[in-house]
């Protein structure tokens, strides 16, 4: 009998112990979340602030340096010279390891000014994390990671000089955790806007004043040519049934072209899909019903991929700085509804 009472007593003790242990665990997690959650959101905010400072610096700082550009297996060395004179930007990019060719910003080439500004809606599809400190071109910089919340786009890593806001290292990382494209300054001289004389020192003030920005203006001209498309419905009954989160579709001006093996000039519809940070293009060209289907084509150059496929009497081409599977998925889920 006594044994039974003791047994009941010990079960009650055990239940009490279990309950208190559970309460302790819950309390522990509450405390931990209370401590860490605000610091995480604060880190996100700092990361976004630094990214936007970088965006401003890329337009407004005067800088000259050499960088290594790695695209897949190709390595190039570029000299970039960006200056702001009387409030107007100019940029010169020279590829050092080719035949001395020189291309200005206007001829569509490498330009740091193309890196977009971070907008609040981008946080729906990316988390922006403040990483550790690193050193690039002998300048300390802070790593910021734009981590996609799905596998449909590349992870982006920036290393930014916290003093000037200059981007020193940038990489797009694929699903194998290896960079698919990267550039990194190997030496750089950064000067304050307007004065153009003194190199920025670590302790100097870095407040940047707004300038007349011709590069931004030229990009705004492009923006005016793009027309918003709603509900994923494209022209001629085409519908993009499945799109990665955060992408919006806009229509660019039509193109006229002659396709191989096709009679007459065709009109290609160009749609631009963007989540704000990266972009894709969809090209739809009508083809003759009796034409022989063309082999599908894919292109890869570092982060840039391209796939084509004949479908419902159209040649569909998708191009973008996204993984190939994302492009294939978009093309696959493009339907023509009569």
């Amino acid at each position: 009998m006594n044994t039974g009472i003791n047994f009941k007593f010990s079960i009650a003790n055990f239940r009490n112990y279990k309950l208190s242990f559970t309460l302790k665990i819950i309390a522990f997690f509450l405390v931990v979340s209370f401590i860490f959650v605000p610091s995480v959101s604060s880190a996100d905010e700092s990361a976004i602030k630094l990214l936007n400072k970088m965006n401003q610096a890329l337009h407004q700082l005067t800088y000259k340096g050499t960088l290594v550009l790695i695209q897949g297996n190709n390595v190039s060395s570029l000299m970039i010279d960006h200056s702001v004179v009387n409030g107007v930007q100019s940029e010169r990019v020279v590829r050092l390891n080719e035949a001395g060719s020189e291309v200005s910003r206007e001829v569509k080439g490498f330009s740091l000014s193309k890196i977009p500004r971070i907008r609040p809606e981008m946080e729906k599809v990316y988390s922006f994390d403040l990483g550790r400190e690193n050193r690039v071109a002998n300048i300390p910089c802070r790593i910021i990671t734009a981590r996609p919340k799905d596998r449909q786009r590349y992870l982006q890593k920036y290393c930014i000089d916290m003093v000037s806001g200059m981007l020193l290292d940038y990489r797009l990382v694929g699903k194998t955790h290896k960079p698919v494209e990267q550039f990194m300054f190997t030496n750089i001289e950064i000067r304050m806007p307007e004065t153009g004389s003194s190199k920025i020192s670590v302790n100097s003030a870095t407040t940047l004043t707004p300038i007349e920005d011709v590069l931004i203006e030229s990009e705004s001209e492009v923006e005016t040519l793009l027309r918003q498309v709603s509900n994923s419905s494209l022209e001629d009954g085409w519908v993009a049934e499945v799109l990665p989160a955060g992408f919006e579709i806009r229509q660019a001006p039509h193109m006229k072209e002659i396709l191989p093996g096709q009679e007459g000039e065709k009109t290609t519809k160009h749609y631009v899909l963007s989540d704000g940070l990266i972009s894709m293009s969809l090209f739809l060209t009508p083809i003759s019903q009796n034409s022989i289907p063309q082999d599908a084509i894919k292109i890869n150059s570092g982060a840039l991929n391209m796939v084509t496929q004949d479908k419902s009497g159209h040649r569909i081409t998708a191009v973008g700085e996204v993984p190939e599977l994302t492009l294939k998925s978009i093309v696959k889920n493009l339907r023509k509804k009569n």
């Binding site: 290594v68 695209q71 390891n97 550039f183 990194m184 190997t186 660019a252 972009s279 084509i297």
Partner: protein, 224 residues
């Protein structure tokens, strides 16, 4: 005379990186070094220049033909180099070993022609050794594709450096990215031209990337 500040292994890794032969580890190691070693970054630019000059003759899949324009191309690239940094070629070193140092302009101008000659000589020697190793020079029946018959009127094979701008370019056939489940074929020139237009248009209206789209085309038959 080796550079005491930079171990020889880094130079080899740097060279391997430019030849696309560096593994992930070597690539990371070189990039880490480049972050902190400015002399190494200058060396990278120099190696890239020399590599590009040597690759110029391979574009038509023929052997390297040491025409005068080839050597002129190297001299031209060395001349161009001065615009960006103070790289000189150490004439007293092994032929392929380059070193960088900041020197007075007078010293640079004295070294430049000797340096240029040393690089050109080393490239010539390497090409000659390569031909010897292949046993081609000892084979009386061998006739390289790119060399004109001696009985024919004298002509120099054009090995003008390929001028590729930072603009969008579509080059042909990269089989390195091929996968086993897809059957690949060449894209014809018309298709390449068309695809280049698409990339151009994408760059104009869509791209937000700073990267230059230097594109390689692969065509394949999608069996799925």
């Amino acid at each position: 005379m080796s550079n005491t500040e930079t171990p020889i292994t880094i130079n080899e890794h740097l060279s391997a990186l430019l030849d696309d032969q560096a593994g992930d580890f070597e690539q990371r190691r070189v990039l880490d070094e480049l972050k902190v070693d400015s002399s190494l970054s200058r060396k990278l630019s120099t190696y890239a220049l020399i590599g590009e000059a040597m690759r110029t003759g391979e574009s038509d899949k023929s052997l390297i033909s040491l025409g005068s324009s080839f050597l002129d191309g190297i001299h031209e690239k060395i001349e161009l180099e001065d615009d960006f940094d103070e790289v000189i070629v150490n004439a007293g070193n092994e032929s392929s070993q380059l070193s960088q140092s900041k020197t007075e302009n007078s010293t640079t101008s004295w070294f430049r022609p000797i340096g240029g000659f040393a690089v050109a000589a080393s490239v010539g020697a390497l090409a000659f050794m390569g031909l010897q190793n292949m046993g081609l020079l000892n084979n009386p029946n061998f006739q390289p594709d790119g060399v004109v018959n001696s009985s024919a009127p004298t002509a120099i094979v054009d090995v003008t450096p390929v001028t590729s701008t930072v603009d969008n370019t579509v080059t042909s056939l990269n089989t390195s990215n091929s996968t086993n489940d897809e059957q690949y074929a060449d894209a014809d020139s018309h298709t390449r031209s068309l695809l280049k237009r698409y990339v151009d248009s994408h760059m104009q209206y869509a791209t937000s990337s700073a990267f230059v789209p230097s594109v390689r085309v692969i065509a394949y038959t999608d069996n799925q």
